[in-house]
């Protein structure tokens, strides 16, 4: 849908500023009440969800042109969806969808950022969507006795994601994930060096056509694989396969799992049995793409049936973030003997973003770092020894900001579980 198609959504913004804060019922004090990294960092109203609705309307009405200044505001946004959740606590309107549409308009108008162009170019060449990845260090799967599903069928596909191919820490997490699945007797296949980028980040950055093209390739590949399920350790990829693809009209034909969901099931069945003590107090960071953004897509087409009330024919259900993956990672953590889980103030559907998403890490590393430091400080305030997360992008961005954000360590949930198996 084009930006103009979201005019009604944007016009419904009443300017209440709820989008800047976590749902107000949840505020427990002065600290950690903010939820939007953009406005928290840059302060101008235009950076908030509501401000973006307003200038989205300006763009529609031609009051503002697509300029580099517009692009600066547009792209300094993680598209984390927190504003969308906070708004929908009280309102029936979409905030995030118009934000995607603005990005697409920017791309159409040629208002892109060089870093993002580069990323998309890499994707189109079927390289990993990671900047600065020169050559190949040791492949994450090297030495793993695992099938290549592009050559032989496997019932379960493990998708590592682009970062695993380029970042040692992410690669290690992917490797550990596969090893754990295998330990549980799951016949897993991977694409080894031929893994395709899911294309989702291109969508978020506004490159709609490129994202669609990539989705087509992915779907064809999965169909060939004969697999029934896909497990991924990358929250972004998870959300794109599960939510974005159906939104764009693509069907992978697979049951989509995040590795924490899958592991939680294995733990519940007793197929995996953590028995070693891990004496640690941790706090868990909900990745946006695993959390609030991963609520299943609800296709809808219809029209408003009442003049003075936004109700629709057929009835329209709003995705409000409640259906994200929140409990399975926590179940995984709670299964680890000796591990103590303490929660931060901003969690689940109102979690503070790590700062990596939306292309921000690549286009504005300073902002990404700032956002991550906020999160690390919040984690440290819980008294936890470590911040655990379930997304390589979160891991990478949070680890990268360490030093600026106190002394708390960052670790991956799968690797933590592995210590207990």
């Amino acid at each position: 849908m084009a930006l103009k198609d979201y005019q009604s959504e944007m016009e419904t913004c009443c300017r209440c500023s709820a989008c800047k804060f976590i749902p107000l019922e949840k505020v427990t004090g002065y600290e950690h009440a903010n939820v939007c990294p953009s406005i928290s960092r840059y302060d101008f109203h235009a950076y908030s969800g509501g401000g973006r609705m307003a200038f989205g309307l300006s763009l529609v009405h031609g009051r503002v042109k697509y300029t580099p200044k517009v692009a600066e505001v547009v792209y300094n946004c993680n598209l984390c969806g927190a504003c969308d959740v906070s708004c929908k606590y009280a309102m029936d309107m979409d905030v995030l969808e118009p934000l995607y549409a603005v990005r697409q308009e920017c791309v159409k108008q040629g208002q892109t950022l060089p870093a993002l162009d580069k990323l998309v170019a890499k994707m189109k060449k079927q390289g990993p969507m990671v900047l600065g990845a020169k050559g190949r260090h040791k492949a994450w799967h090297e030495g793993l006795d695992v099938a290549d599903y592009t050559k032989e069928k496997a019932p379960v596909v493990y998708h590592a994601g682009c970062l695993a191919r380029c970042d040692e820490s992410s690669g290690r997490a992917a490797r550990t994930s596969v090893a754990l699945l295998q330990k549980a007797g799951i016949k897993v296949g991977i694409a080894k060096d031929r893994e395709l980028c899911c294309g989702g980040r291109a969508y978020e950055m506004g490159y709609l056509d490129e994202a669609k093209a990539q989705a087509e390739l992915n779907v064809a590949r999965f169909k060939e694989s004969g697999a029934a399920e896909i497990v991924t350790g990358c929250a972004h990829c998870y959300q794109y396969y599960k939510v974005l693809y159906p939104k764009l009209g693509f069907d992978t034909g697979l049951k989509i799992w995040h590795v924490t969901e899958y592991l939680a099931q294995l733990l519940a069945k007793g197929t995996l049995k953590p028995c070693k003590e891990v004496d640690l107090t941790v706090t868990y960071h909900d990745p946006c793409h695993l959390g609030r953004l991963s609520e299943p897509w609800i296709p809808w087409e219809g029209k408003q049936r009442e003049r003075h009330m936004r109700v629709y024919e057929p009835p329209r259900t709003f995705r409000r973030g409640a259906g994200g993956v929140y409990e399975p990672p926590r179940e995984v953590l709670r299964s680890i003997p000796g591990l103590k889980l303490v929660e931060m103030d901003r969690i689940k559907e109102y979690a503070w973003c790590c700062g990596a998403g939306g292309g921000v890490r690549e286009s504005n590393p300073e902002f990404a770092r700032w956002t991550a430091v906020e999160r690390l400080n919040e984690a440290e305030s819980t008294g936890a020894d470590a911040l655990v997360t379930a997304c390589p992008h979160c891991s990478q961005n949070l680890q990268g900001a360490g030093g600026d954000g106190g002394s708390i360590g960052v670790c991956d949930i799968v690797e933590l579980l592995d210590r207990a198996i």
Binding site: E11, T12, C13, C14, R15, C16, S17, A18, F21, P23, L24, E25, K26, V27, T28, G29, Y30, A33, D43, F44, H45, A46, G51, R52, M53, A54, F55, L57, S58, H61, R63, V64, K69, V70, V73, V85, S86, K88, Y89, A90, M91, D92, M93, E306, R307, H308, M309, R310, V311, P315, R316, T317, F318, R320, G321, A322, Y326, K348, E349, Y350
Partner: protein, 520 residues
């Protein structure tokens, strides 16, 4: 008057380049109309620039420059209301977002000092940890904790936590000319506990039942009364947005929606509840508003409203009891039962018990559902906001407005969400306040209809001898009411003129100075 480049640079040198912008997209982020009383106009005039001062001194410097350059300014905190907009060009926006500190909480003396952008959710959250809490504006916990920022300062908790005009203590005020005045004890001895004196109180010109809505300088800090909180330090919640509910509802709290056969029954109950001081929250919602509060979507609201309307008798109110002890709680419940019996009231079973009651209770205390009740339908709400006065005046007046609302509904200009008037009780019934809210999709036709509606309300207020509605702000309305009300508007103008001789504090939502000869 448009801002010149060198003027922009002068302001930039005050706040820093990262805290000022005249980029069109930033200006338009503020130009998009508020959902409050939206008319047919989508975009309001643009501000010349957006400035974000970080301190009182920066505010002062900006105000002085505005006086020098003959530019206007309009300050706001979260900036929700339509009165945060300029009336025309030549005006700067002072977005006080960076002035967001809780300066002091004095638990022993039960007051706190806040800057404009502390929202009441944060403030109440901090206070609760200390066994205290505060009044929250009826618009919701998203609004400023400073009792000079919101239009009125009346809210769900005003039954026991008073209202903005009376909770205000000392104030730090950057006058329209750029002087810094600290009222009361703040000016005299540097403490914030008292806003009045020495001698006559300047609080008298800073606000009344309503605030000057940006038209009399900038309030950069204020002290506010706070109150005892008998609940837990933190309200632990379960569930996900938007369906939260307290995980462990505090033991001495209870929420109800009570309805009565007619307005007399409701009035009797509210009066008796006030006199017996058993109420913590008393909000004169109608059943539709309760449905909106409880429902997590418009679709659900329609279903619940139908259900509730079948179960109620007539006008009602939402009511929360909070006991300081088991005995206190038991007593309050028993008295409520007696009053309900006496006034022939009925409790809405659908909100009794379980997560529904607990959720309603917490949303009324934290005041988070006002957006649902007013804006969710279409993103816009309007109506008329009457005054602060005796319950009987509020009740008598509002009967006119509900008839006029019925007419609007009949004409299809507003949402048909019943015409039970909203009247709420303040300070255990010492005063009351009423409103008739309209939800609508804006259009020229609707704008015309709602304007006429407000016009009728204004005429009723005069002809019926009822008083000054709180929705009266701007010259035209003041000029209409003033001659019937002892010329209050002339005194308002004199204060404006004395303190803002250069008319730099944009006051299209307050009052402007006119030629004295024309006034006479």
């Amino acid at each position: 008057m448009a801002m010149k480049k060198e003027q922009y640079r002068a302001f930039e040198s005050v706040v820093g380049p990262e805290n000022i912008s005249d980029e069109p997209l930033h200006l338009d982020a503020w130009a998009w109309r508020s959902g409050q009383a939206a008319g047919a106009q989508d975009f309001k005039p643009r501000f010349e620039a957006i400035l974000m001062p970080g301190s009182t001194e920066e505010v002062q410097a900006i105000v002085r420059l505005c006086n020098k350059f003959r530019l206007q300014y309009k300050a706001s905190s979260t900036g929700w209301g339509s009165y945060c907009d300029p009336g025309g060009p030549g005006c700067l926006k002072l977005d006080l977002r960076r002035m967001n500190r809780i300066v002091e909480i004095d638990e022993d003396s039960m007051y706190a000092v806040v800057e404009p952008y502390v929202i009441t959710a944060q403030f109440q959250g901090e206070l609760m940890k200390r066994g205290l809490h505060c009044n929250i504006n009826g618009a919701g916990a998203i609004t400023s904790a400073m009792p000079l920022a919101a239009h009125e300062g009346i809210g769900h908790l005003s039954q026991c936590c008073s209202v903005g005009e009376r909770n205000l203590l000392a104030v730090e005020w950057v006058t329209p000319e750029g002087e810094i005045i600290r009222t009361g004890s703040a000016g005299s001895i540097g403490e914030w506990f008292c806003g009045d004196g020495p001698g006559p109180s300047l609080r008298g010109i800073l606000r009344g039942n309503v605030v000057p809505l940006g038209g009399l300088g900038v309030y950069t800090k204020a002290a506010t009364k706070i109150y005892h909180w008998p609940g837990p330090p933190t309200m632990r919640l379960k569930g996900h947005s938007p369906g939260y509910a307290p995980a462990d509802p505090p033991p001495y709290f209870m929420a109800r929606f009570l309805s009565f056969a007619d307005e007399n029954g409701r009035a009797l109950a509210i009066r008796k509840i006030g006199e017996s001081e058993i109420g913590f929250v008393l909000m004169g919602f109608n059943a539709n508003m309760v449905a909106a509060n409880v429902a997590t979507s418009n679709e659900e609201e329609i279903v619940l409203a139908e259900e509730y309307l079948k179960s109620i008798q007539g006008p009602g109110f939402c009511f929360v009891i909070a006991g300081n002890s088991a005995r206190d709680f038991e007593y309050k419940k028993q008295v409520l039962d007696l009053i309900i019996k006496e006034a022939k009231g009925k409790s809405l079973k659908a909100v009794e018990g379980g997560d529904v009651e607990a959720g309603l209770m917490w949303r009324c205390i934290r005041v988070t559902a006002s957006i649902r009740e007013t804006m969710r339908a279409t993103g816009v709400f309007g109506g008329e906001i009457f005054g602060t006065d005796s319950y009987q005046v509020q009740s008598n007046f509002i009967q006119h407005s509900v008839r006029d609302k019925a007419d609007l509904i009949e004409r299809g200009l507003v949402y048909a969400d019943s015409t039970f008037p909203f009247i709420t009780s303040l300070e255990h019934g010492q005063q009351a306040h009423s409103e008739v809210l309209l939800r609508y999709t804006p259009s020229p036709e609707v704008a015309q209809g709602t304007m006429e509606y407000v016009g009728k309300a204004n005429k009723n207020a005069v002809n019926g001898h009822y008083g000054l509605p709180h929705h009266v702000f701007n010259d035209a309305q003041h000029d209409f009411f003033g001659p019937h009300m002892w010329g209050y508007h002339k005194w308002l103008r004199k204060v404006k003129k004395a303190f803002d001789p250069n008319a730099t504090s944009e006051s299209s939502h307050h009052i402007t100075v006119k030629d004295p000869a024309a006034e006479e």
